[in-house]
Symmetry: C2
Subunit: 345 residues, 2 copies
Amino acid sequence: MRRTVGWLADGREIIYFERLPGAERKIVDRRNLDSPSIITEVRYDRLLGEEVAISSHRQDRTYLPPRDECPFCPSRAGKLTEIPSEDYEVVVFENRFPTFTERVPGGCGRCEVVCFTSDHDRSFRELTASQVRMVVDVWADRVQELSRLPGVRYVFPFENRGREIGVTLVHPHGQIYAYPYLPPTPARMLERARWHRERTGGNLFAELLVAERAASRVVSAGEHWCAFVPEAARWPVEVHLYPYRQVPDIPALSDAERDDFAAVYLDVLNRLDALYQEPLPYIAGWQQAPVDTDRDLAYLHLRVFSVRRAPGKLKFLAGSEASAGAFLNDAFPEDVAQRLRRAGS
Amino acid sequence: MRRTVGWLADGREIIYFERLPGAERKIVDRRNLDSPSIITEVRYDRLLGEEVAISSHRQDRTYLPPRDECPFCPSRAGKLTEIPSEDYEVVVFENRFPTFTERVPGGCGRCEVVCFTSDHDRSFRELTASQVRMVVDVWADRVQELSRLPGVRYVFPFENRGREIGVTLVHPHGQIYAYPYLPPTPARMLERARWHRERTGGNLFAELLVAERAASRVVSAGEHWCAFVPEAARWPVEVHLYPYRQVPDIPALSDAERDDFAAVYLDVLNRLDALYQEPLPYIAGWQQAPVDTDRDLAYLHLRVFSVRRAPGKLKFLAGSEASAGAFLNDAFPEDVAQRLRRAGS
């Protein structure tokens, strides 16, 4: 995989990843680009023991532009976009409206955009297995690089898909947040896993995976990966993907594991879109080890879930979830798993 | 306050609360009402250490009915509703589609609906101070009663307002959940407060209230209550209301505190609706002591927040919040407090 680094007009880094042979890239962003004035601050909620990131510049970010104004399509004559070239395979660049950035005094961390393909109309599900494999390699590259940035404690690659969850740019892309703190969800899981190991010597993630593989909620399985609806799913559609081998993060995956992930994940995404015979809005996020702790305790996995509870109906987080933290799920995980096993087959 | 208890056609309890004098109520529900087949189960997520409630009957619940089909308006000739009488002041009844209920074998807990007024077109903000005071008395009654149900560990009165957060019935109403477990958010706060008391002897809630009253984020204050935007607010609009005196729950509030709450809360709600010159969708939830623990540690307060981040724009919980648990707020709490202080004045 070739890797070409350049800089956008306002100083942000951009990295092209390519498998296809080609001439050396010259990256020149000819736009006249104002930097948004970035004010961002991490505060600590002492009652909940959690950091909250507060910014004041993101309200103006690009919001559902018309198709020919898509900032993630390649540039062409008269239409300069975030990607200053006429084609690309996979490209990564710093978010123009970052919550975390080193590019302001006192700032720390980074927010990156990953464009999965130059094809505006494709979705992740429609990538080929070898394209997905390449995205895994790109994630691995970024996790390694971002982990080395000063002050970064956790790297989180994720994809938001669908207007229903607030996606404002439809071009197929994901994001990577490099947090200067350990986010609450991985923090809590690692705390529970640590407690379990101290009491029993076992790895909680690995034990739960064994139980899930034996239960009736498996949706898809390959040589190295298993996808299941978890026993205590919070969302009306929720699938977790675990490798059979415990690894701390994406860079630790072997070639064979990366290839198999592509196959299993594409199978899962096909089932998700077949469930209601329409593209499913979803959030897919990688849970992995923090940069500098718990590398022997953490267990890499991907969590995919949707707010779609029925065709045309969404699950909202209201009083019980958003205010008391208590999730109510209107679908039994066993039923969802069965529907997903039947979907798209 | 008079209190009349009756039963709906399918056996659910209904309670009328009245300040006005009147004849004794005869409660006869003449509907032929099928009970939905209720299947509900509490599962435990071992990785996050949290209960999740799963039900399979709630998918069919009433969804934005036309105005003349409102089930929370009083019954009239030819239109029988959930409230089998021609008028009411405040009425409480068991939810027809409950997540928690004692009315099935093995079930536990309860979900109640509180209709704040018989006037379909009024919002909580438009209630008079004496109506709000009455609602506080009703909440106090319900907290006491529900706390006595076998297996109930936490009582949570809340209001969801606005279609933007999934409200499917517009008639002004709130809900009360009597959970058979301690929900994650109060559990976490009490854990932090306990840890703080063990280390310092102080009450964390009370200390934070002192700090907030001295800071620049106070929105409204009365003789007994203070409303402020918290320092580490998660939501683009968020206001917490604390009484100056530490009390564990709503029943422990004095008459004067209840009256003052009505005044301060109505002032806050007026400011919230004035913020964008349109009714603000919000979630308002009471944090109080669990039924059987931490009554000296907990500190009753109300948390109100909105997903509205700008006119016509909503804050969505996407990858960072929903998957990593890390909240990103696009508004500085000091700015929001200032805008709320100016709004509606």
